[in-house]
C-alpha cells in the first residue's frame, strides 16, 4: 500500500532523509519510531504529497506521490504533528467544511459532523470557536477531521504527544479499529511502548536513516534493555535468590534480564517463592536503550 525507494530530502546541508525504503501492506499499522529531529515529520510530509523528495520514489496505493499527487490525495488523510484546525470556526463548522471539501452532500455533511462530534466527545463544544478549545480537544478534532471520510491510508504524526493517558488509550483503540476495517495506518512516535502496542511493523529512524526494521518482537530482541530489579533485606536472601534466577548482583540488588512481559515477572516471582523480597521494579527497554544499542552509544 505504501512503497518507497531511496527517499532523500535535504535542507541546505542537512540530510533530513537519507535513502529511506519502506513497504507497508494494506490494513497494517506501521510505526516510524525515532527521536526528535530523526526525520519522521519530513517522511510523512513526503508521503502525503506535501513535500517533494530530492531523490527516490514513493507510491501510495499505486499512485506516485509526486507525479500523481491529486490521486494520492484522494486516498489519504493526514493528521500532522501540530493541529491543523481552523481556529476561527467552531468545531462543528470545521467538520462540516471538511465534509463538503470531501464532496459529501450538505445533508450528509451535517450528519457526519454530528456523528464525529459524538464519537470524539466534542458535542458540548460543537458551537464554540476552536481557538477556545484545550490542546486535547484540538487534537481530537484534528483526528476527527481526518476521518470525515474513511481514507485508504491514514498518516498520524506523533498522534499521542501531549495527550493524557486515557485519551492515548482511546486513540490506540481507534487506530486498531481502523486497521481492522482495512485502513493502512502509518504513524510516527517517540515512544517504544506505543510502537509496541499498536504496530505490526516498526522502522527505527535515526538521522534520516532506517537503522532497524521489524516487528516489535524482533526489535525488542535487538535491545536487551529490559530487566527486573529485585531488592533484598539481607545478604542471605540475595544469595539464595541469585542461585535460583541468574542475574547481575550489585549491593543488595539483583538485576534479571527480561522482555518485561507479565509472564516473565510471574516466572521470576514463582522461582523466588519463600524468599523475602523488599522491592521489585520492572524496567522496560526504553527508546534510549534502542538508540544506545542501534547507534553505538549515542543517546537519543
Amino acid at each position: 500500500m505504501i512503497d518507497t525507494h531511496g527517499i532523500v530530502k535535504t535542507f541546505g546541508r542537512l540530510k533530513a532523509l537519507d535513502g529511506v525504503d519502506l513497504h507497508v501492506q494494506q490494513g497494517k499499522v506501521f510505526a516510524l519510531l525515532g527521536p526528535n529531529g530523526a526525520g519522521k515529520t519530513t517522511m510523512v510530509r513526503v508521503l502525503s504529497s506535501l513535500m517533494r523528495p530530492d531523490a527516490g520514489t514513493a507510491t501510495i496505493a499505486g499512485h506516485d506521490v509526486v507525479r500523481e499527487s491529486r490521486k494520492t490525495r484522494s486516498v489519504i488523510s493526514l493528521t500532522g504533528q501540530y493541529a491543523a484546525v481552523d481556529e476561527l470556526l467552531t468545531g462543528e463548522e470545521n467538520l462540516r467544511m471538511m465534509a463538503r471539501l470531501r464532496k459529501l452532500s450538505r445533508a450528509r455533511a451535517r450528519q457526519r459532523a454530528s456523528e464525529l462530534l459524538e464519537e470524539f466527545e466534542l458535542v458540548e463544544a460543537r458551537g464554540r470557536p476552536v481557538k477556545n478549545y484545550s490542546g486535547g480537544m484540538k487534537r481530537r478534532l484534528d483526528l476527527a477531521l481526518s476521518l470525515v471520510t474513511t481514507p485508504q491510508v491514514l498518516f498520524l504524526d506523533e498522534p499521542t504527544t501531549g495527550l493524557d493517558p486515557r485519551s492515548r488509550l482511546d486513540l490506540w483503540a481507534k487506530v486498531r479499529n481502523l486497521a481492522r476495517g482495512g485502513v493502512t495506518v502509518l504513524l510516527t512516535t517517540q515512544y517504544l511502548e506505543e510502537a509496541d502496542n499498536l504496530a505490526d511493523q516498526v522502522a527505527v529512524l535515526d538521522r534520516g536513516r532506517v537503522v532497524a526494521l521489524g516487528t516489535p518482537e524482533e526489535l525488542k530482541r535487538l535491545v536487551p534493555g529490559g530487566r527486573i530489579e529485585l531488592a533484598f533485606g539481607t545478604e542471605e536472601d540475595l544469595r539464595a535468590a541469585a542461585a535460583r534466577v541468574p542475574g547481575l548482583v550489585e549491593e543488595l540488588r539483583l538485576s534479571v534480564p527480561t522482555d518485561g512481559s507479565a509472564g516473565e515477572v510471574k516466572r521470576v516471582l514463582d522461582a523466588l517463592d519463600g524468599i523475602e523480597l523488599a522491592e521489585l521494579t520492572v524496567r522496560k527497554p526504553s527508546l534510549d536503550d534502542v538508540f544506545l544499542q542501534l547507534t553505538g552509544g549515542r543517546a537519543a
Binding site: 504529497s49 491543523a84 470556526l89 470531501r102
Partner: protein, 246 residues
C-alpha cells in the same frame, strides 16, 4: 469546493470583530474627516464632497482588499494549510476563497459609504449605465488589489508583515488625484501621481459618477487593473505551490 472555502472566509469576517469594525467604520471616518475637516480648505472647483467621494470609495476598497494579505498569511503560518493541501482539491482554492470574500465584503462596505455620502450631500449625475460602469471598475480594481494582496500575504513570513502591506496601500491614494488635483503638487510628486494606477482609476470613477472628462483614463485604468490582476494571479499560484511544498 471553492464555494465552501468562500463560505469559510466569510465566516472568518463575522468572527473577527476588529475586522468588521475596520471594514465599516474606517471608511465612514475617512469620509467624514475629508468632507467636514479638510473640505473647507481644499478648493477643487466643484463641491468638495463630489470631488472626494470617488477617491474615498477607492481608498477604502483598496485598503479592504489589502486585508486579504493578512488572511492569507494567517493560513500559511498555521497548520491548516497542510490539511487543505492534503485534500484532492486545488490548494489555491483557499486563496480564491479569500479573494471572493474580500470582494463581497468590500461591496457591502462601499454600499454603506456611498449611502452615507448621499445622505450628507453627495450629488452624482450618473445614469444607470454609468453606475454599472462604476460597479465594474470597482470590482475589477478590488480583484486586482486582492490578488496583489494575496501575493504579499504569501511572501510575508509573519501576520504583522502582511499588515505592513495594508499600510502601504492606505497611503497610495494620497499621492494621486483622489483628494486634491495633481496640479497643486510639487513637480516630482505630480509626475508620480499622474503615472500611478490610482489616478486613472479615480478619474474614471469620478467621470462616470459626475460627468467630468475621462479621456484616456478609462483604458489606462482597465489596463492597469487587468495587468495587476493577471500578473498577481499567476504569481500567487506559483508562490503558493512553492512556499507550501518545502
Amino acid at each position: 469546493m471553492t464555494l465552501t472555502l468562500v463560505w469559510r472566509s466569510l465566516r472568518h469576517l463575522t468572527r473577527s470583530f476588529d475586522n468588521l469594525l475596520m471594514t465599516v467604520f474606517l471608511p465612514l471616518m475617512i469620509l467624514l474627516l475629508f468632507v467636514y475637516v479638510f473640505g473647507g480648505a481644499i478648493n477643487t472647483g466643484t463641491a468638495y464632497i463630489n470631488y472626494v467621494v470617488p477617491g474615498i470609495v477607492l481608498l477604502c476598497a483598496g485598503y479592504g482588499a489589502s486585508q486579504t494579505a493578512v488572511s492569507v498569511t494567517n493560513d500559511m503560518v498555521r497548520g491548516i494549510i497542510d490539511r487543505f493541501r492534503s485534500l484532492p482539491i486545488a490548494g489555491s482554492a483557499v486563496l480564491t476563497g479569500h479573494v471572493a470574500a474580500s470582494v463581497a465584503r468590500i461591496l457591502v462596505s462601499t454600499a454603506i459609504v456611498v449611502g452615507v455620502a448621499l445622505g450628507i450631500g453627495f450629488r452624482p449625475s450618473a445614469t444607470a449605465a454609468e453606475w454599472f460602469g462604476v460597479l465594474g471598475m470597482l470590482v475589477l480594481f478590488v480583484l486586482a488589489m486582492s490578488w496583489l494582496s494575496v501575493v504579499f500575504g504569501l511572501i510575508a513570513r509573519t501576520v504583522e508583515g502582511a499588515g505592513g502591506f495594508s499600510f502601504f496601500v492606505l497611503f497610495l491614494p494620497y499621492v494621486s488625484s483622489a483628494f486634491v488635483p495633481t496640479h497643486t503638487m510639487p513637480a516630482a510628486l505630480q509626475f508620480a501621481a499622474r503615472n500611478q494606477p490610482m489616478t486613472p482609476i479615480i478619474e474614471t470613477t469620478r467621470g462616470l459618477l459626475l460627468g467630468t472628462p475621462i479621456g484616456n483614463s478609462g483604458w489606462l485604468a482597465v489596463a492597469w487593473c487587468v495587468g495587476i490582476l493577471v500578473v498577481s494571479y499567476a504569481l500567487a499560484r506559483y508562490l503558493f505551490e512553492r512556499r507550501s511544498s518545502h
